[in-house]
Subunit: 220 residues, 2 copies
DNA sequence: AGGGCTCTCCCCCGGACGGGGGAGACGGTT
DNA sequence: AACCGTCTCCCCCGTCCGGGGGAGAGCCCT
């Protein structure tokens, strides 16, 4: 293991936190804390100057928060470091923000020292993302959308009716649906009527709305 | 470090993969491969019997795939193991599926041996999630929704027209919109006409669809 | 003072839509 | 054999919708 040490910069507005992190990381062979920053603005300039491999970035900081600092660092450098965002609460919307701007990882402040060390090592070596239980929230968030609560009426629709509803949701008229299905317009009409009855709505527009709202169809 | 070893079960339909994983993991102090399974069904029963700490679960397996096996294990045991889902491609929709059913982590087969070991250690110790670059996709997916691409025609709508479109998207008729806005039905009608023209659609249903698809309004 | 935009409201008209019936054909279940 | 569900198609009828005109009041900007 004669690999060059992983160079780390700490960005946190509280001196005690920086010190604690430095003690933990410097005690590890192969890890080296090369710089610190107490504000987002400082973080940006320090990182530009020192070009570390990894940055531990606090979210809440004066002047510029960790998210925007991350954004600026990643967009302004040709070989940006891997940035691990650190926060106290896992249900922060910061999680999503951090991922959106391109952070490589996410870490809770209450993480164990070993987790911290392994997080830095992993992030430094690959583009792997290391996560605390915060990702549970992300996963839950995603799950909340994907398997949308099964539409109660969807099960009652026949194959044909479901097909008609999908066509309705593309903005087709009864005649166009009939053409598409190669059936008479009267048939399309009665299928539409069945859909309206089973979804318990008044007109095709409300049916389409119900389809979107229930997750029967999804945007894009 | 006199902690009891982390007990691992491997589930993969290819013997060579299982062997490779076993070699890597058994070489690590503190890790112990206690069982293997070649199908999803086997995985479920083996895990129930051996009660390991961690399961490395392949996605593609005969009989029952890794996702459903994960689901069954997690729902059927009082203290289920942490399950790390393993796959070959990072852009699989399996990533989302795995998270949805409650997998603790996600790993690529081409991950380095050290990453694998650390993944197992991390997952065994905490409820942390360890991720490959696959999470990039998840993050991107999430980001793709949040700042929805601004509708091109939304800017051209007047305040009143936008209001009318939102009401249209709740399934109201022209008369109901008029009542809601405290204006004559002719007025609501002409606003609707303006919306249809500016959104370049034929009828109110297509307008509502455009509103959903463009992100002008969002489900739920 | 004039012009442009928005909001308001009116007319007529044709077509699409939705409600109410009914009915034949097919397949599966009892 | 009788029944039910599904898909297919037909009739009539009233309403809502969208297209085409036009027009007056208020506003802001030049």
């Amino acid at each position: 293991m004669s690999a060059p040490p992983v160079r780390v910069v700490l960005a946190d507005d509280e001196r005690m936190v920086r010190t604690a992190l430095r003690v933990i990381l410097d005690a590890e062979p192969g890890l080296e804390v090369v710089g610190e920053a107490a504000t987002g603005a400082q973080a940006v300039s320090v990182v530009r100057e020192l070009r570390p491999d990894v940055v531990l970035m606090d979210v809440r900081m004066p002047e510029i928060d960790g998210i925007r600092a991350t954004e600026q660092i990643l967009s302004g450098m040709e070989t940006p470091p891997r940035i691990v965002v650190v926060t106290t609460f896992e249900n922060d919307s910061y999680v999503y923000e951090a991922l959106r701007v391109g952070a490589a990882g996410f870490l809770l402040k209450r993480a164990a020292a070993e987790d911290l060390v392994q997080a830095v090592r992993l992030v430094a070596r690959s583009d792997c993302l290391l996560f605390p239980s915060a990702v549970r929230a992300l996963a839950a968030e995603h799950a909340r959308r994907q398997p949308a609560p099964p539409p109660p009426w969807a099960a009652r629709l026949t194959e044909r009716e479901a097909e008609v509803l999908r066509l309705m949701a593309t903005g087709l008229t009864n005649a166009e649906i009939a053409d598409r299905l190669r059936v008479g317009s009267a048939t399309a009409k009665s299928h539409v009527a069945a859909v309206l009855a089973k979804t318990d709505v008044r007109d095709r527009t409300q049916a389409v709305i119900a389809a979107y709202e229930s997750g029967f169809i999804t945007p894009r």
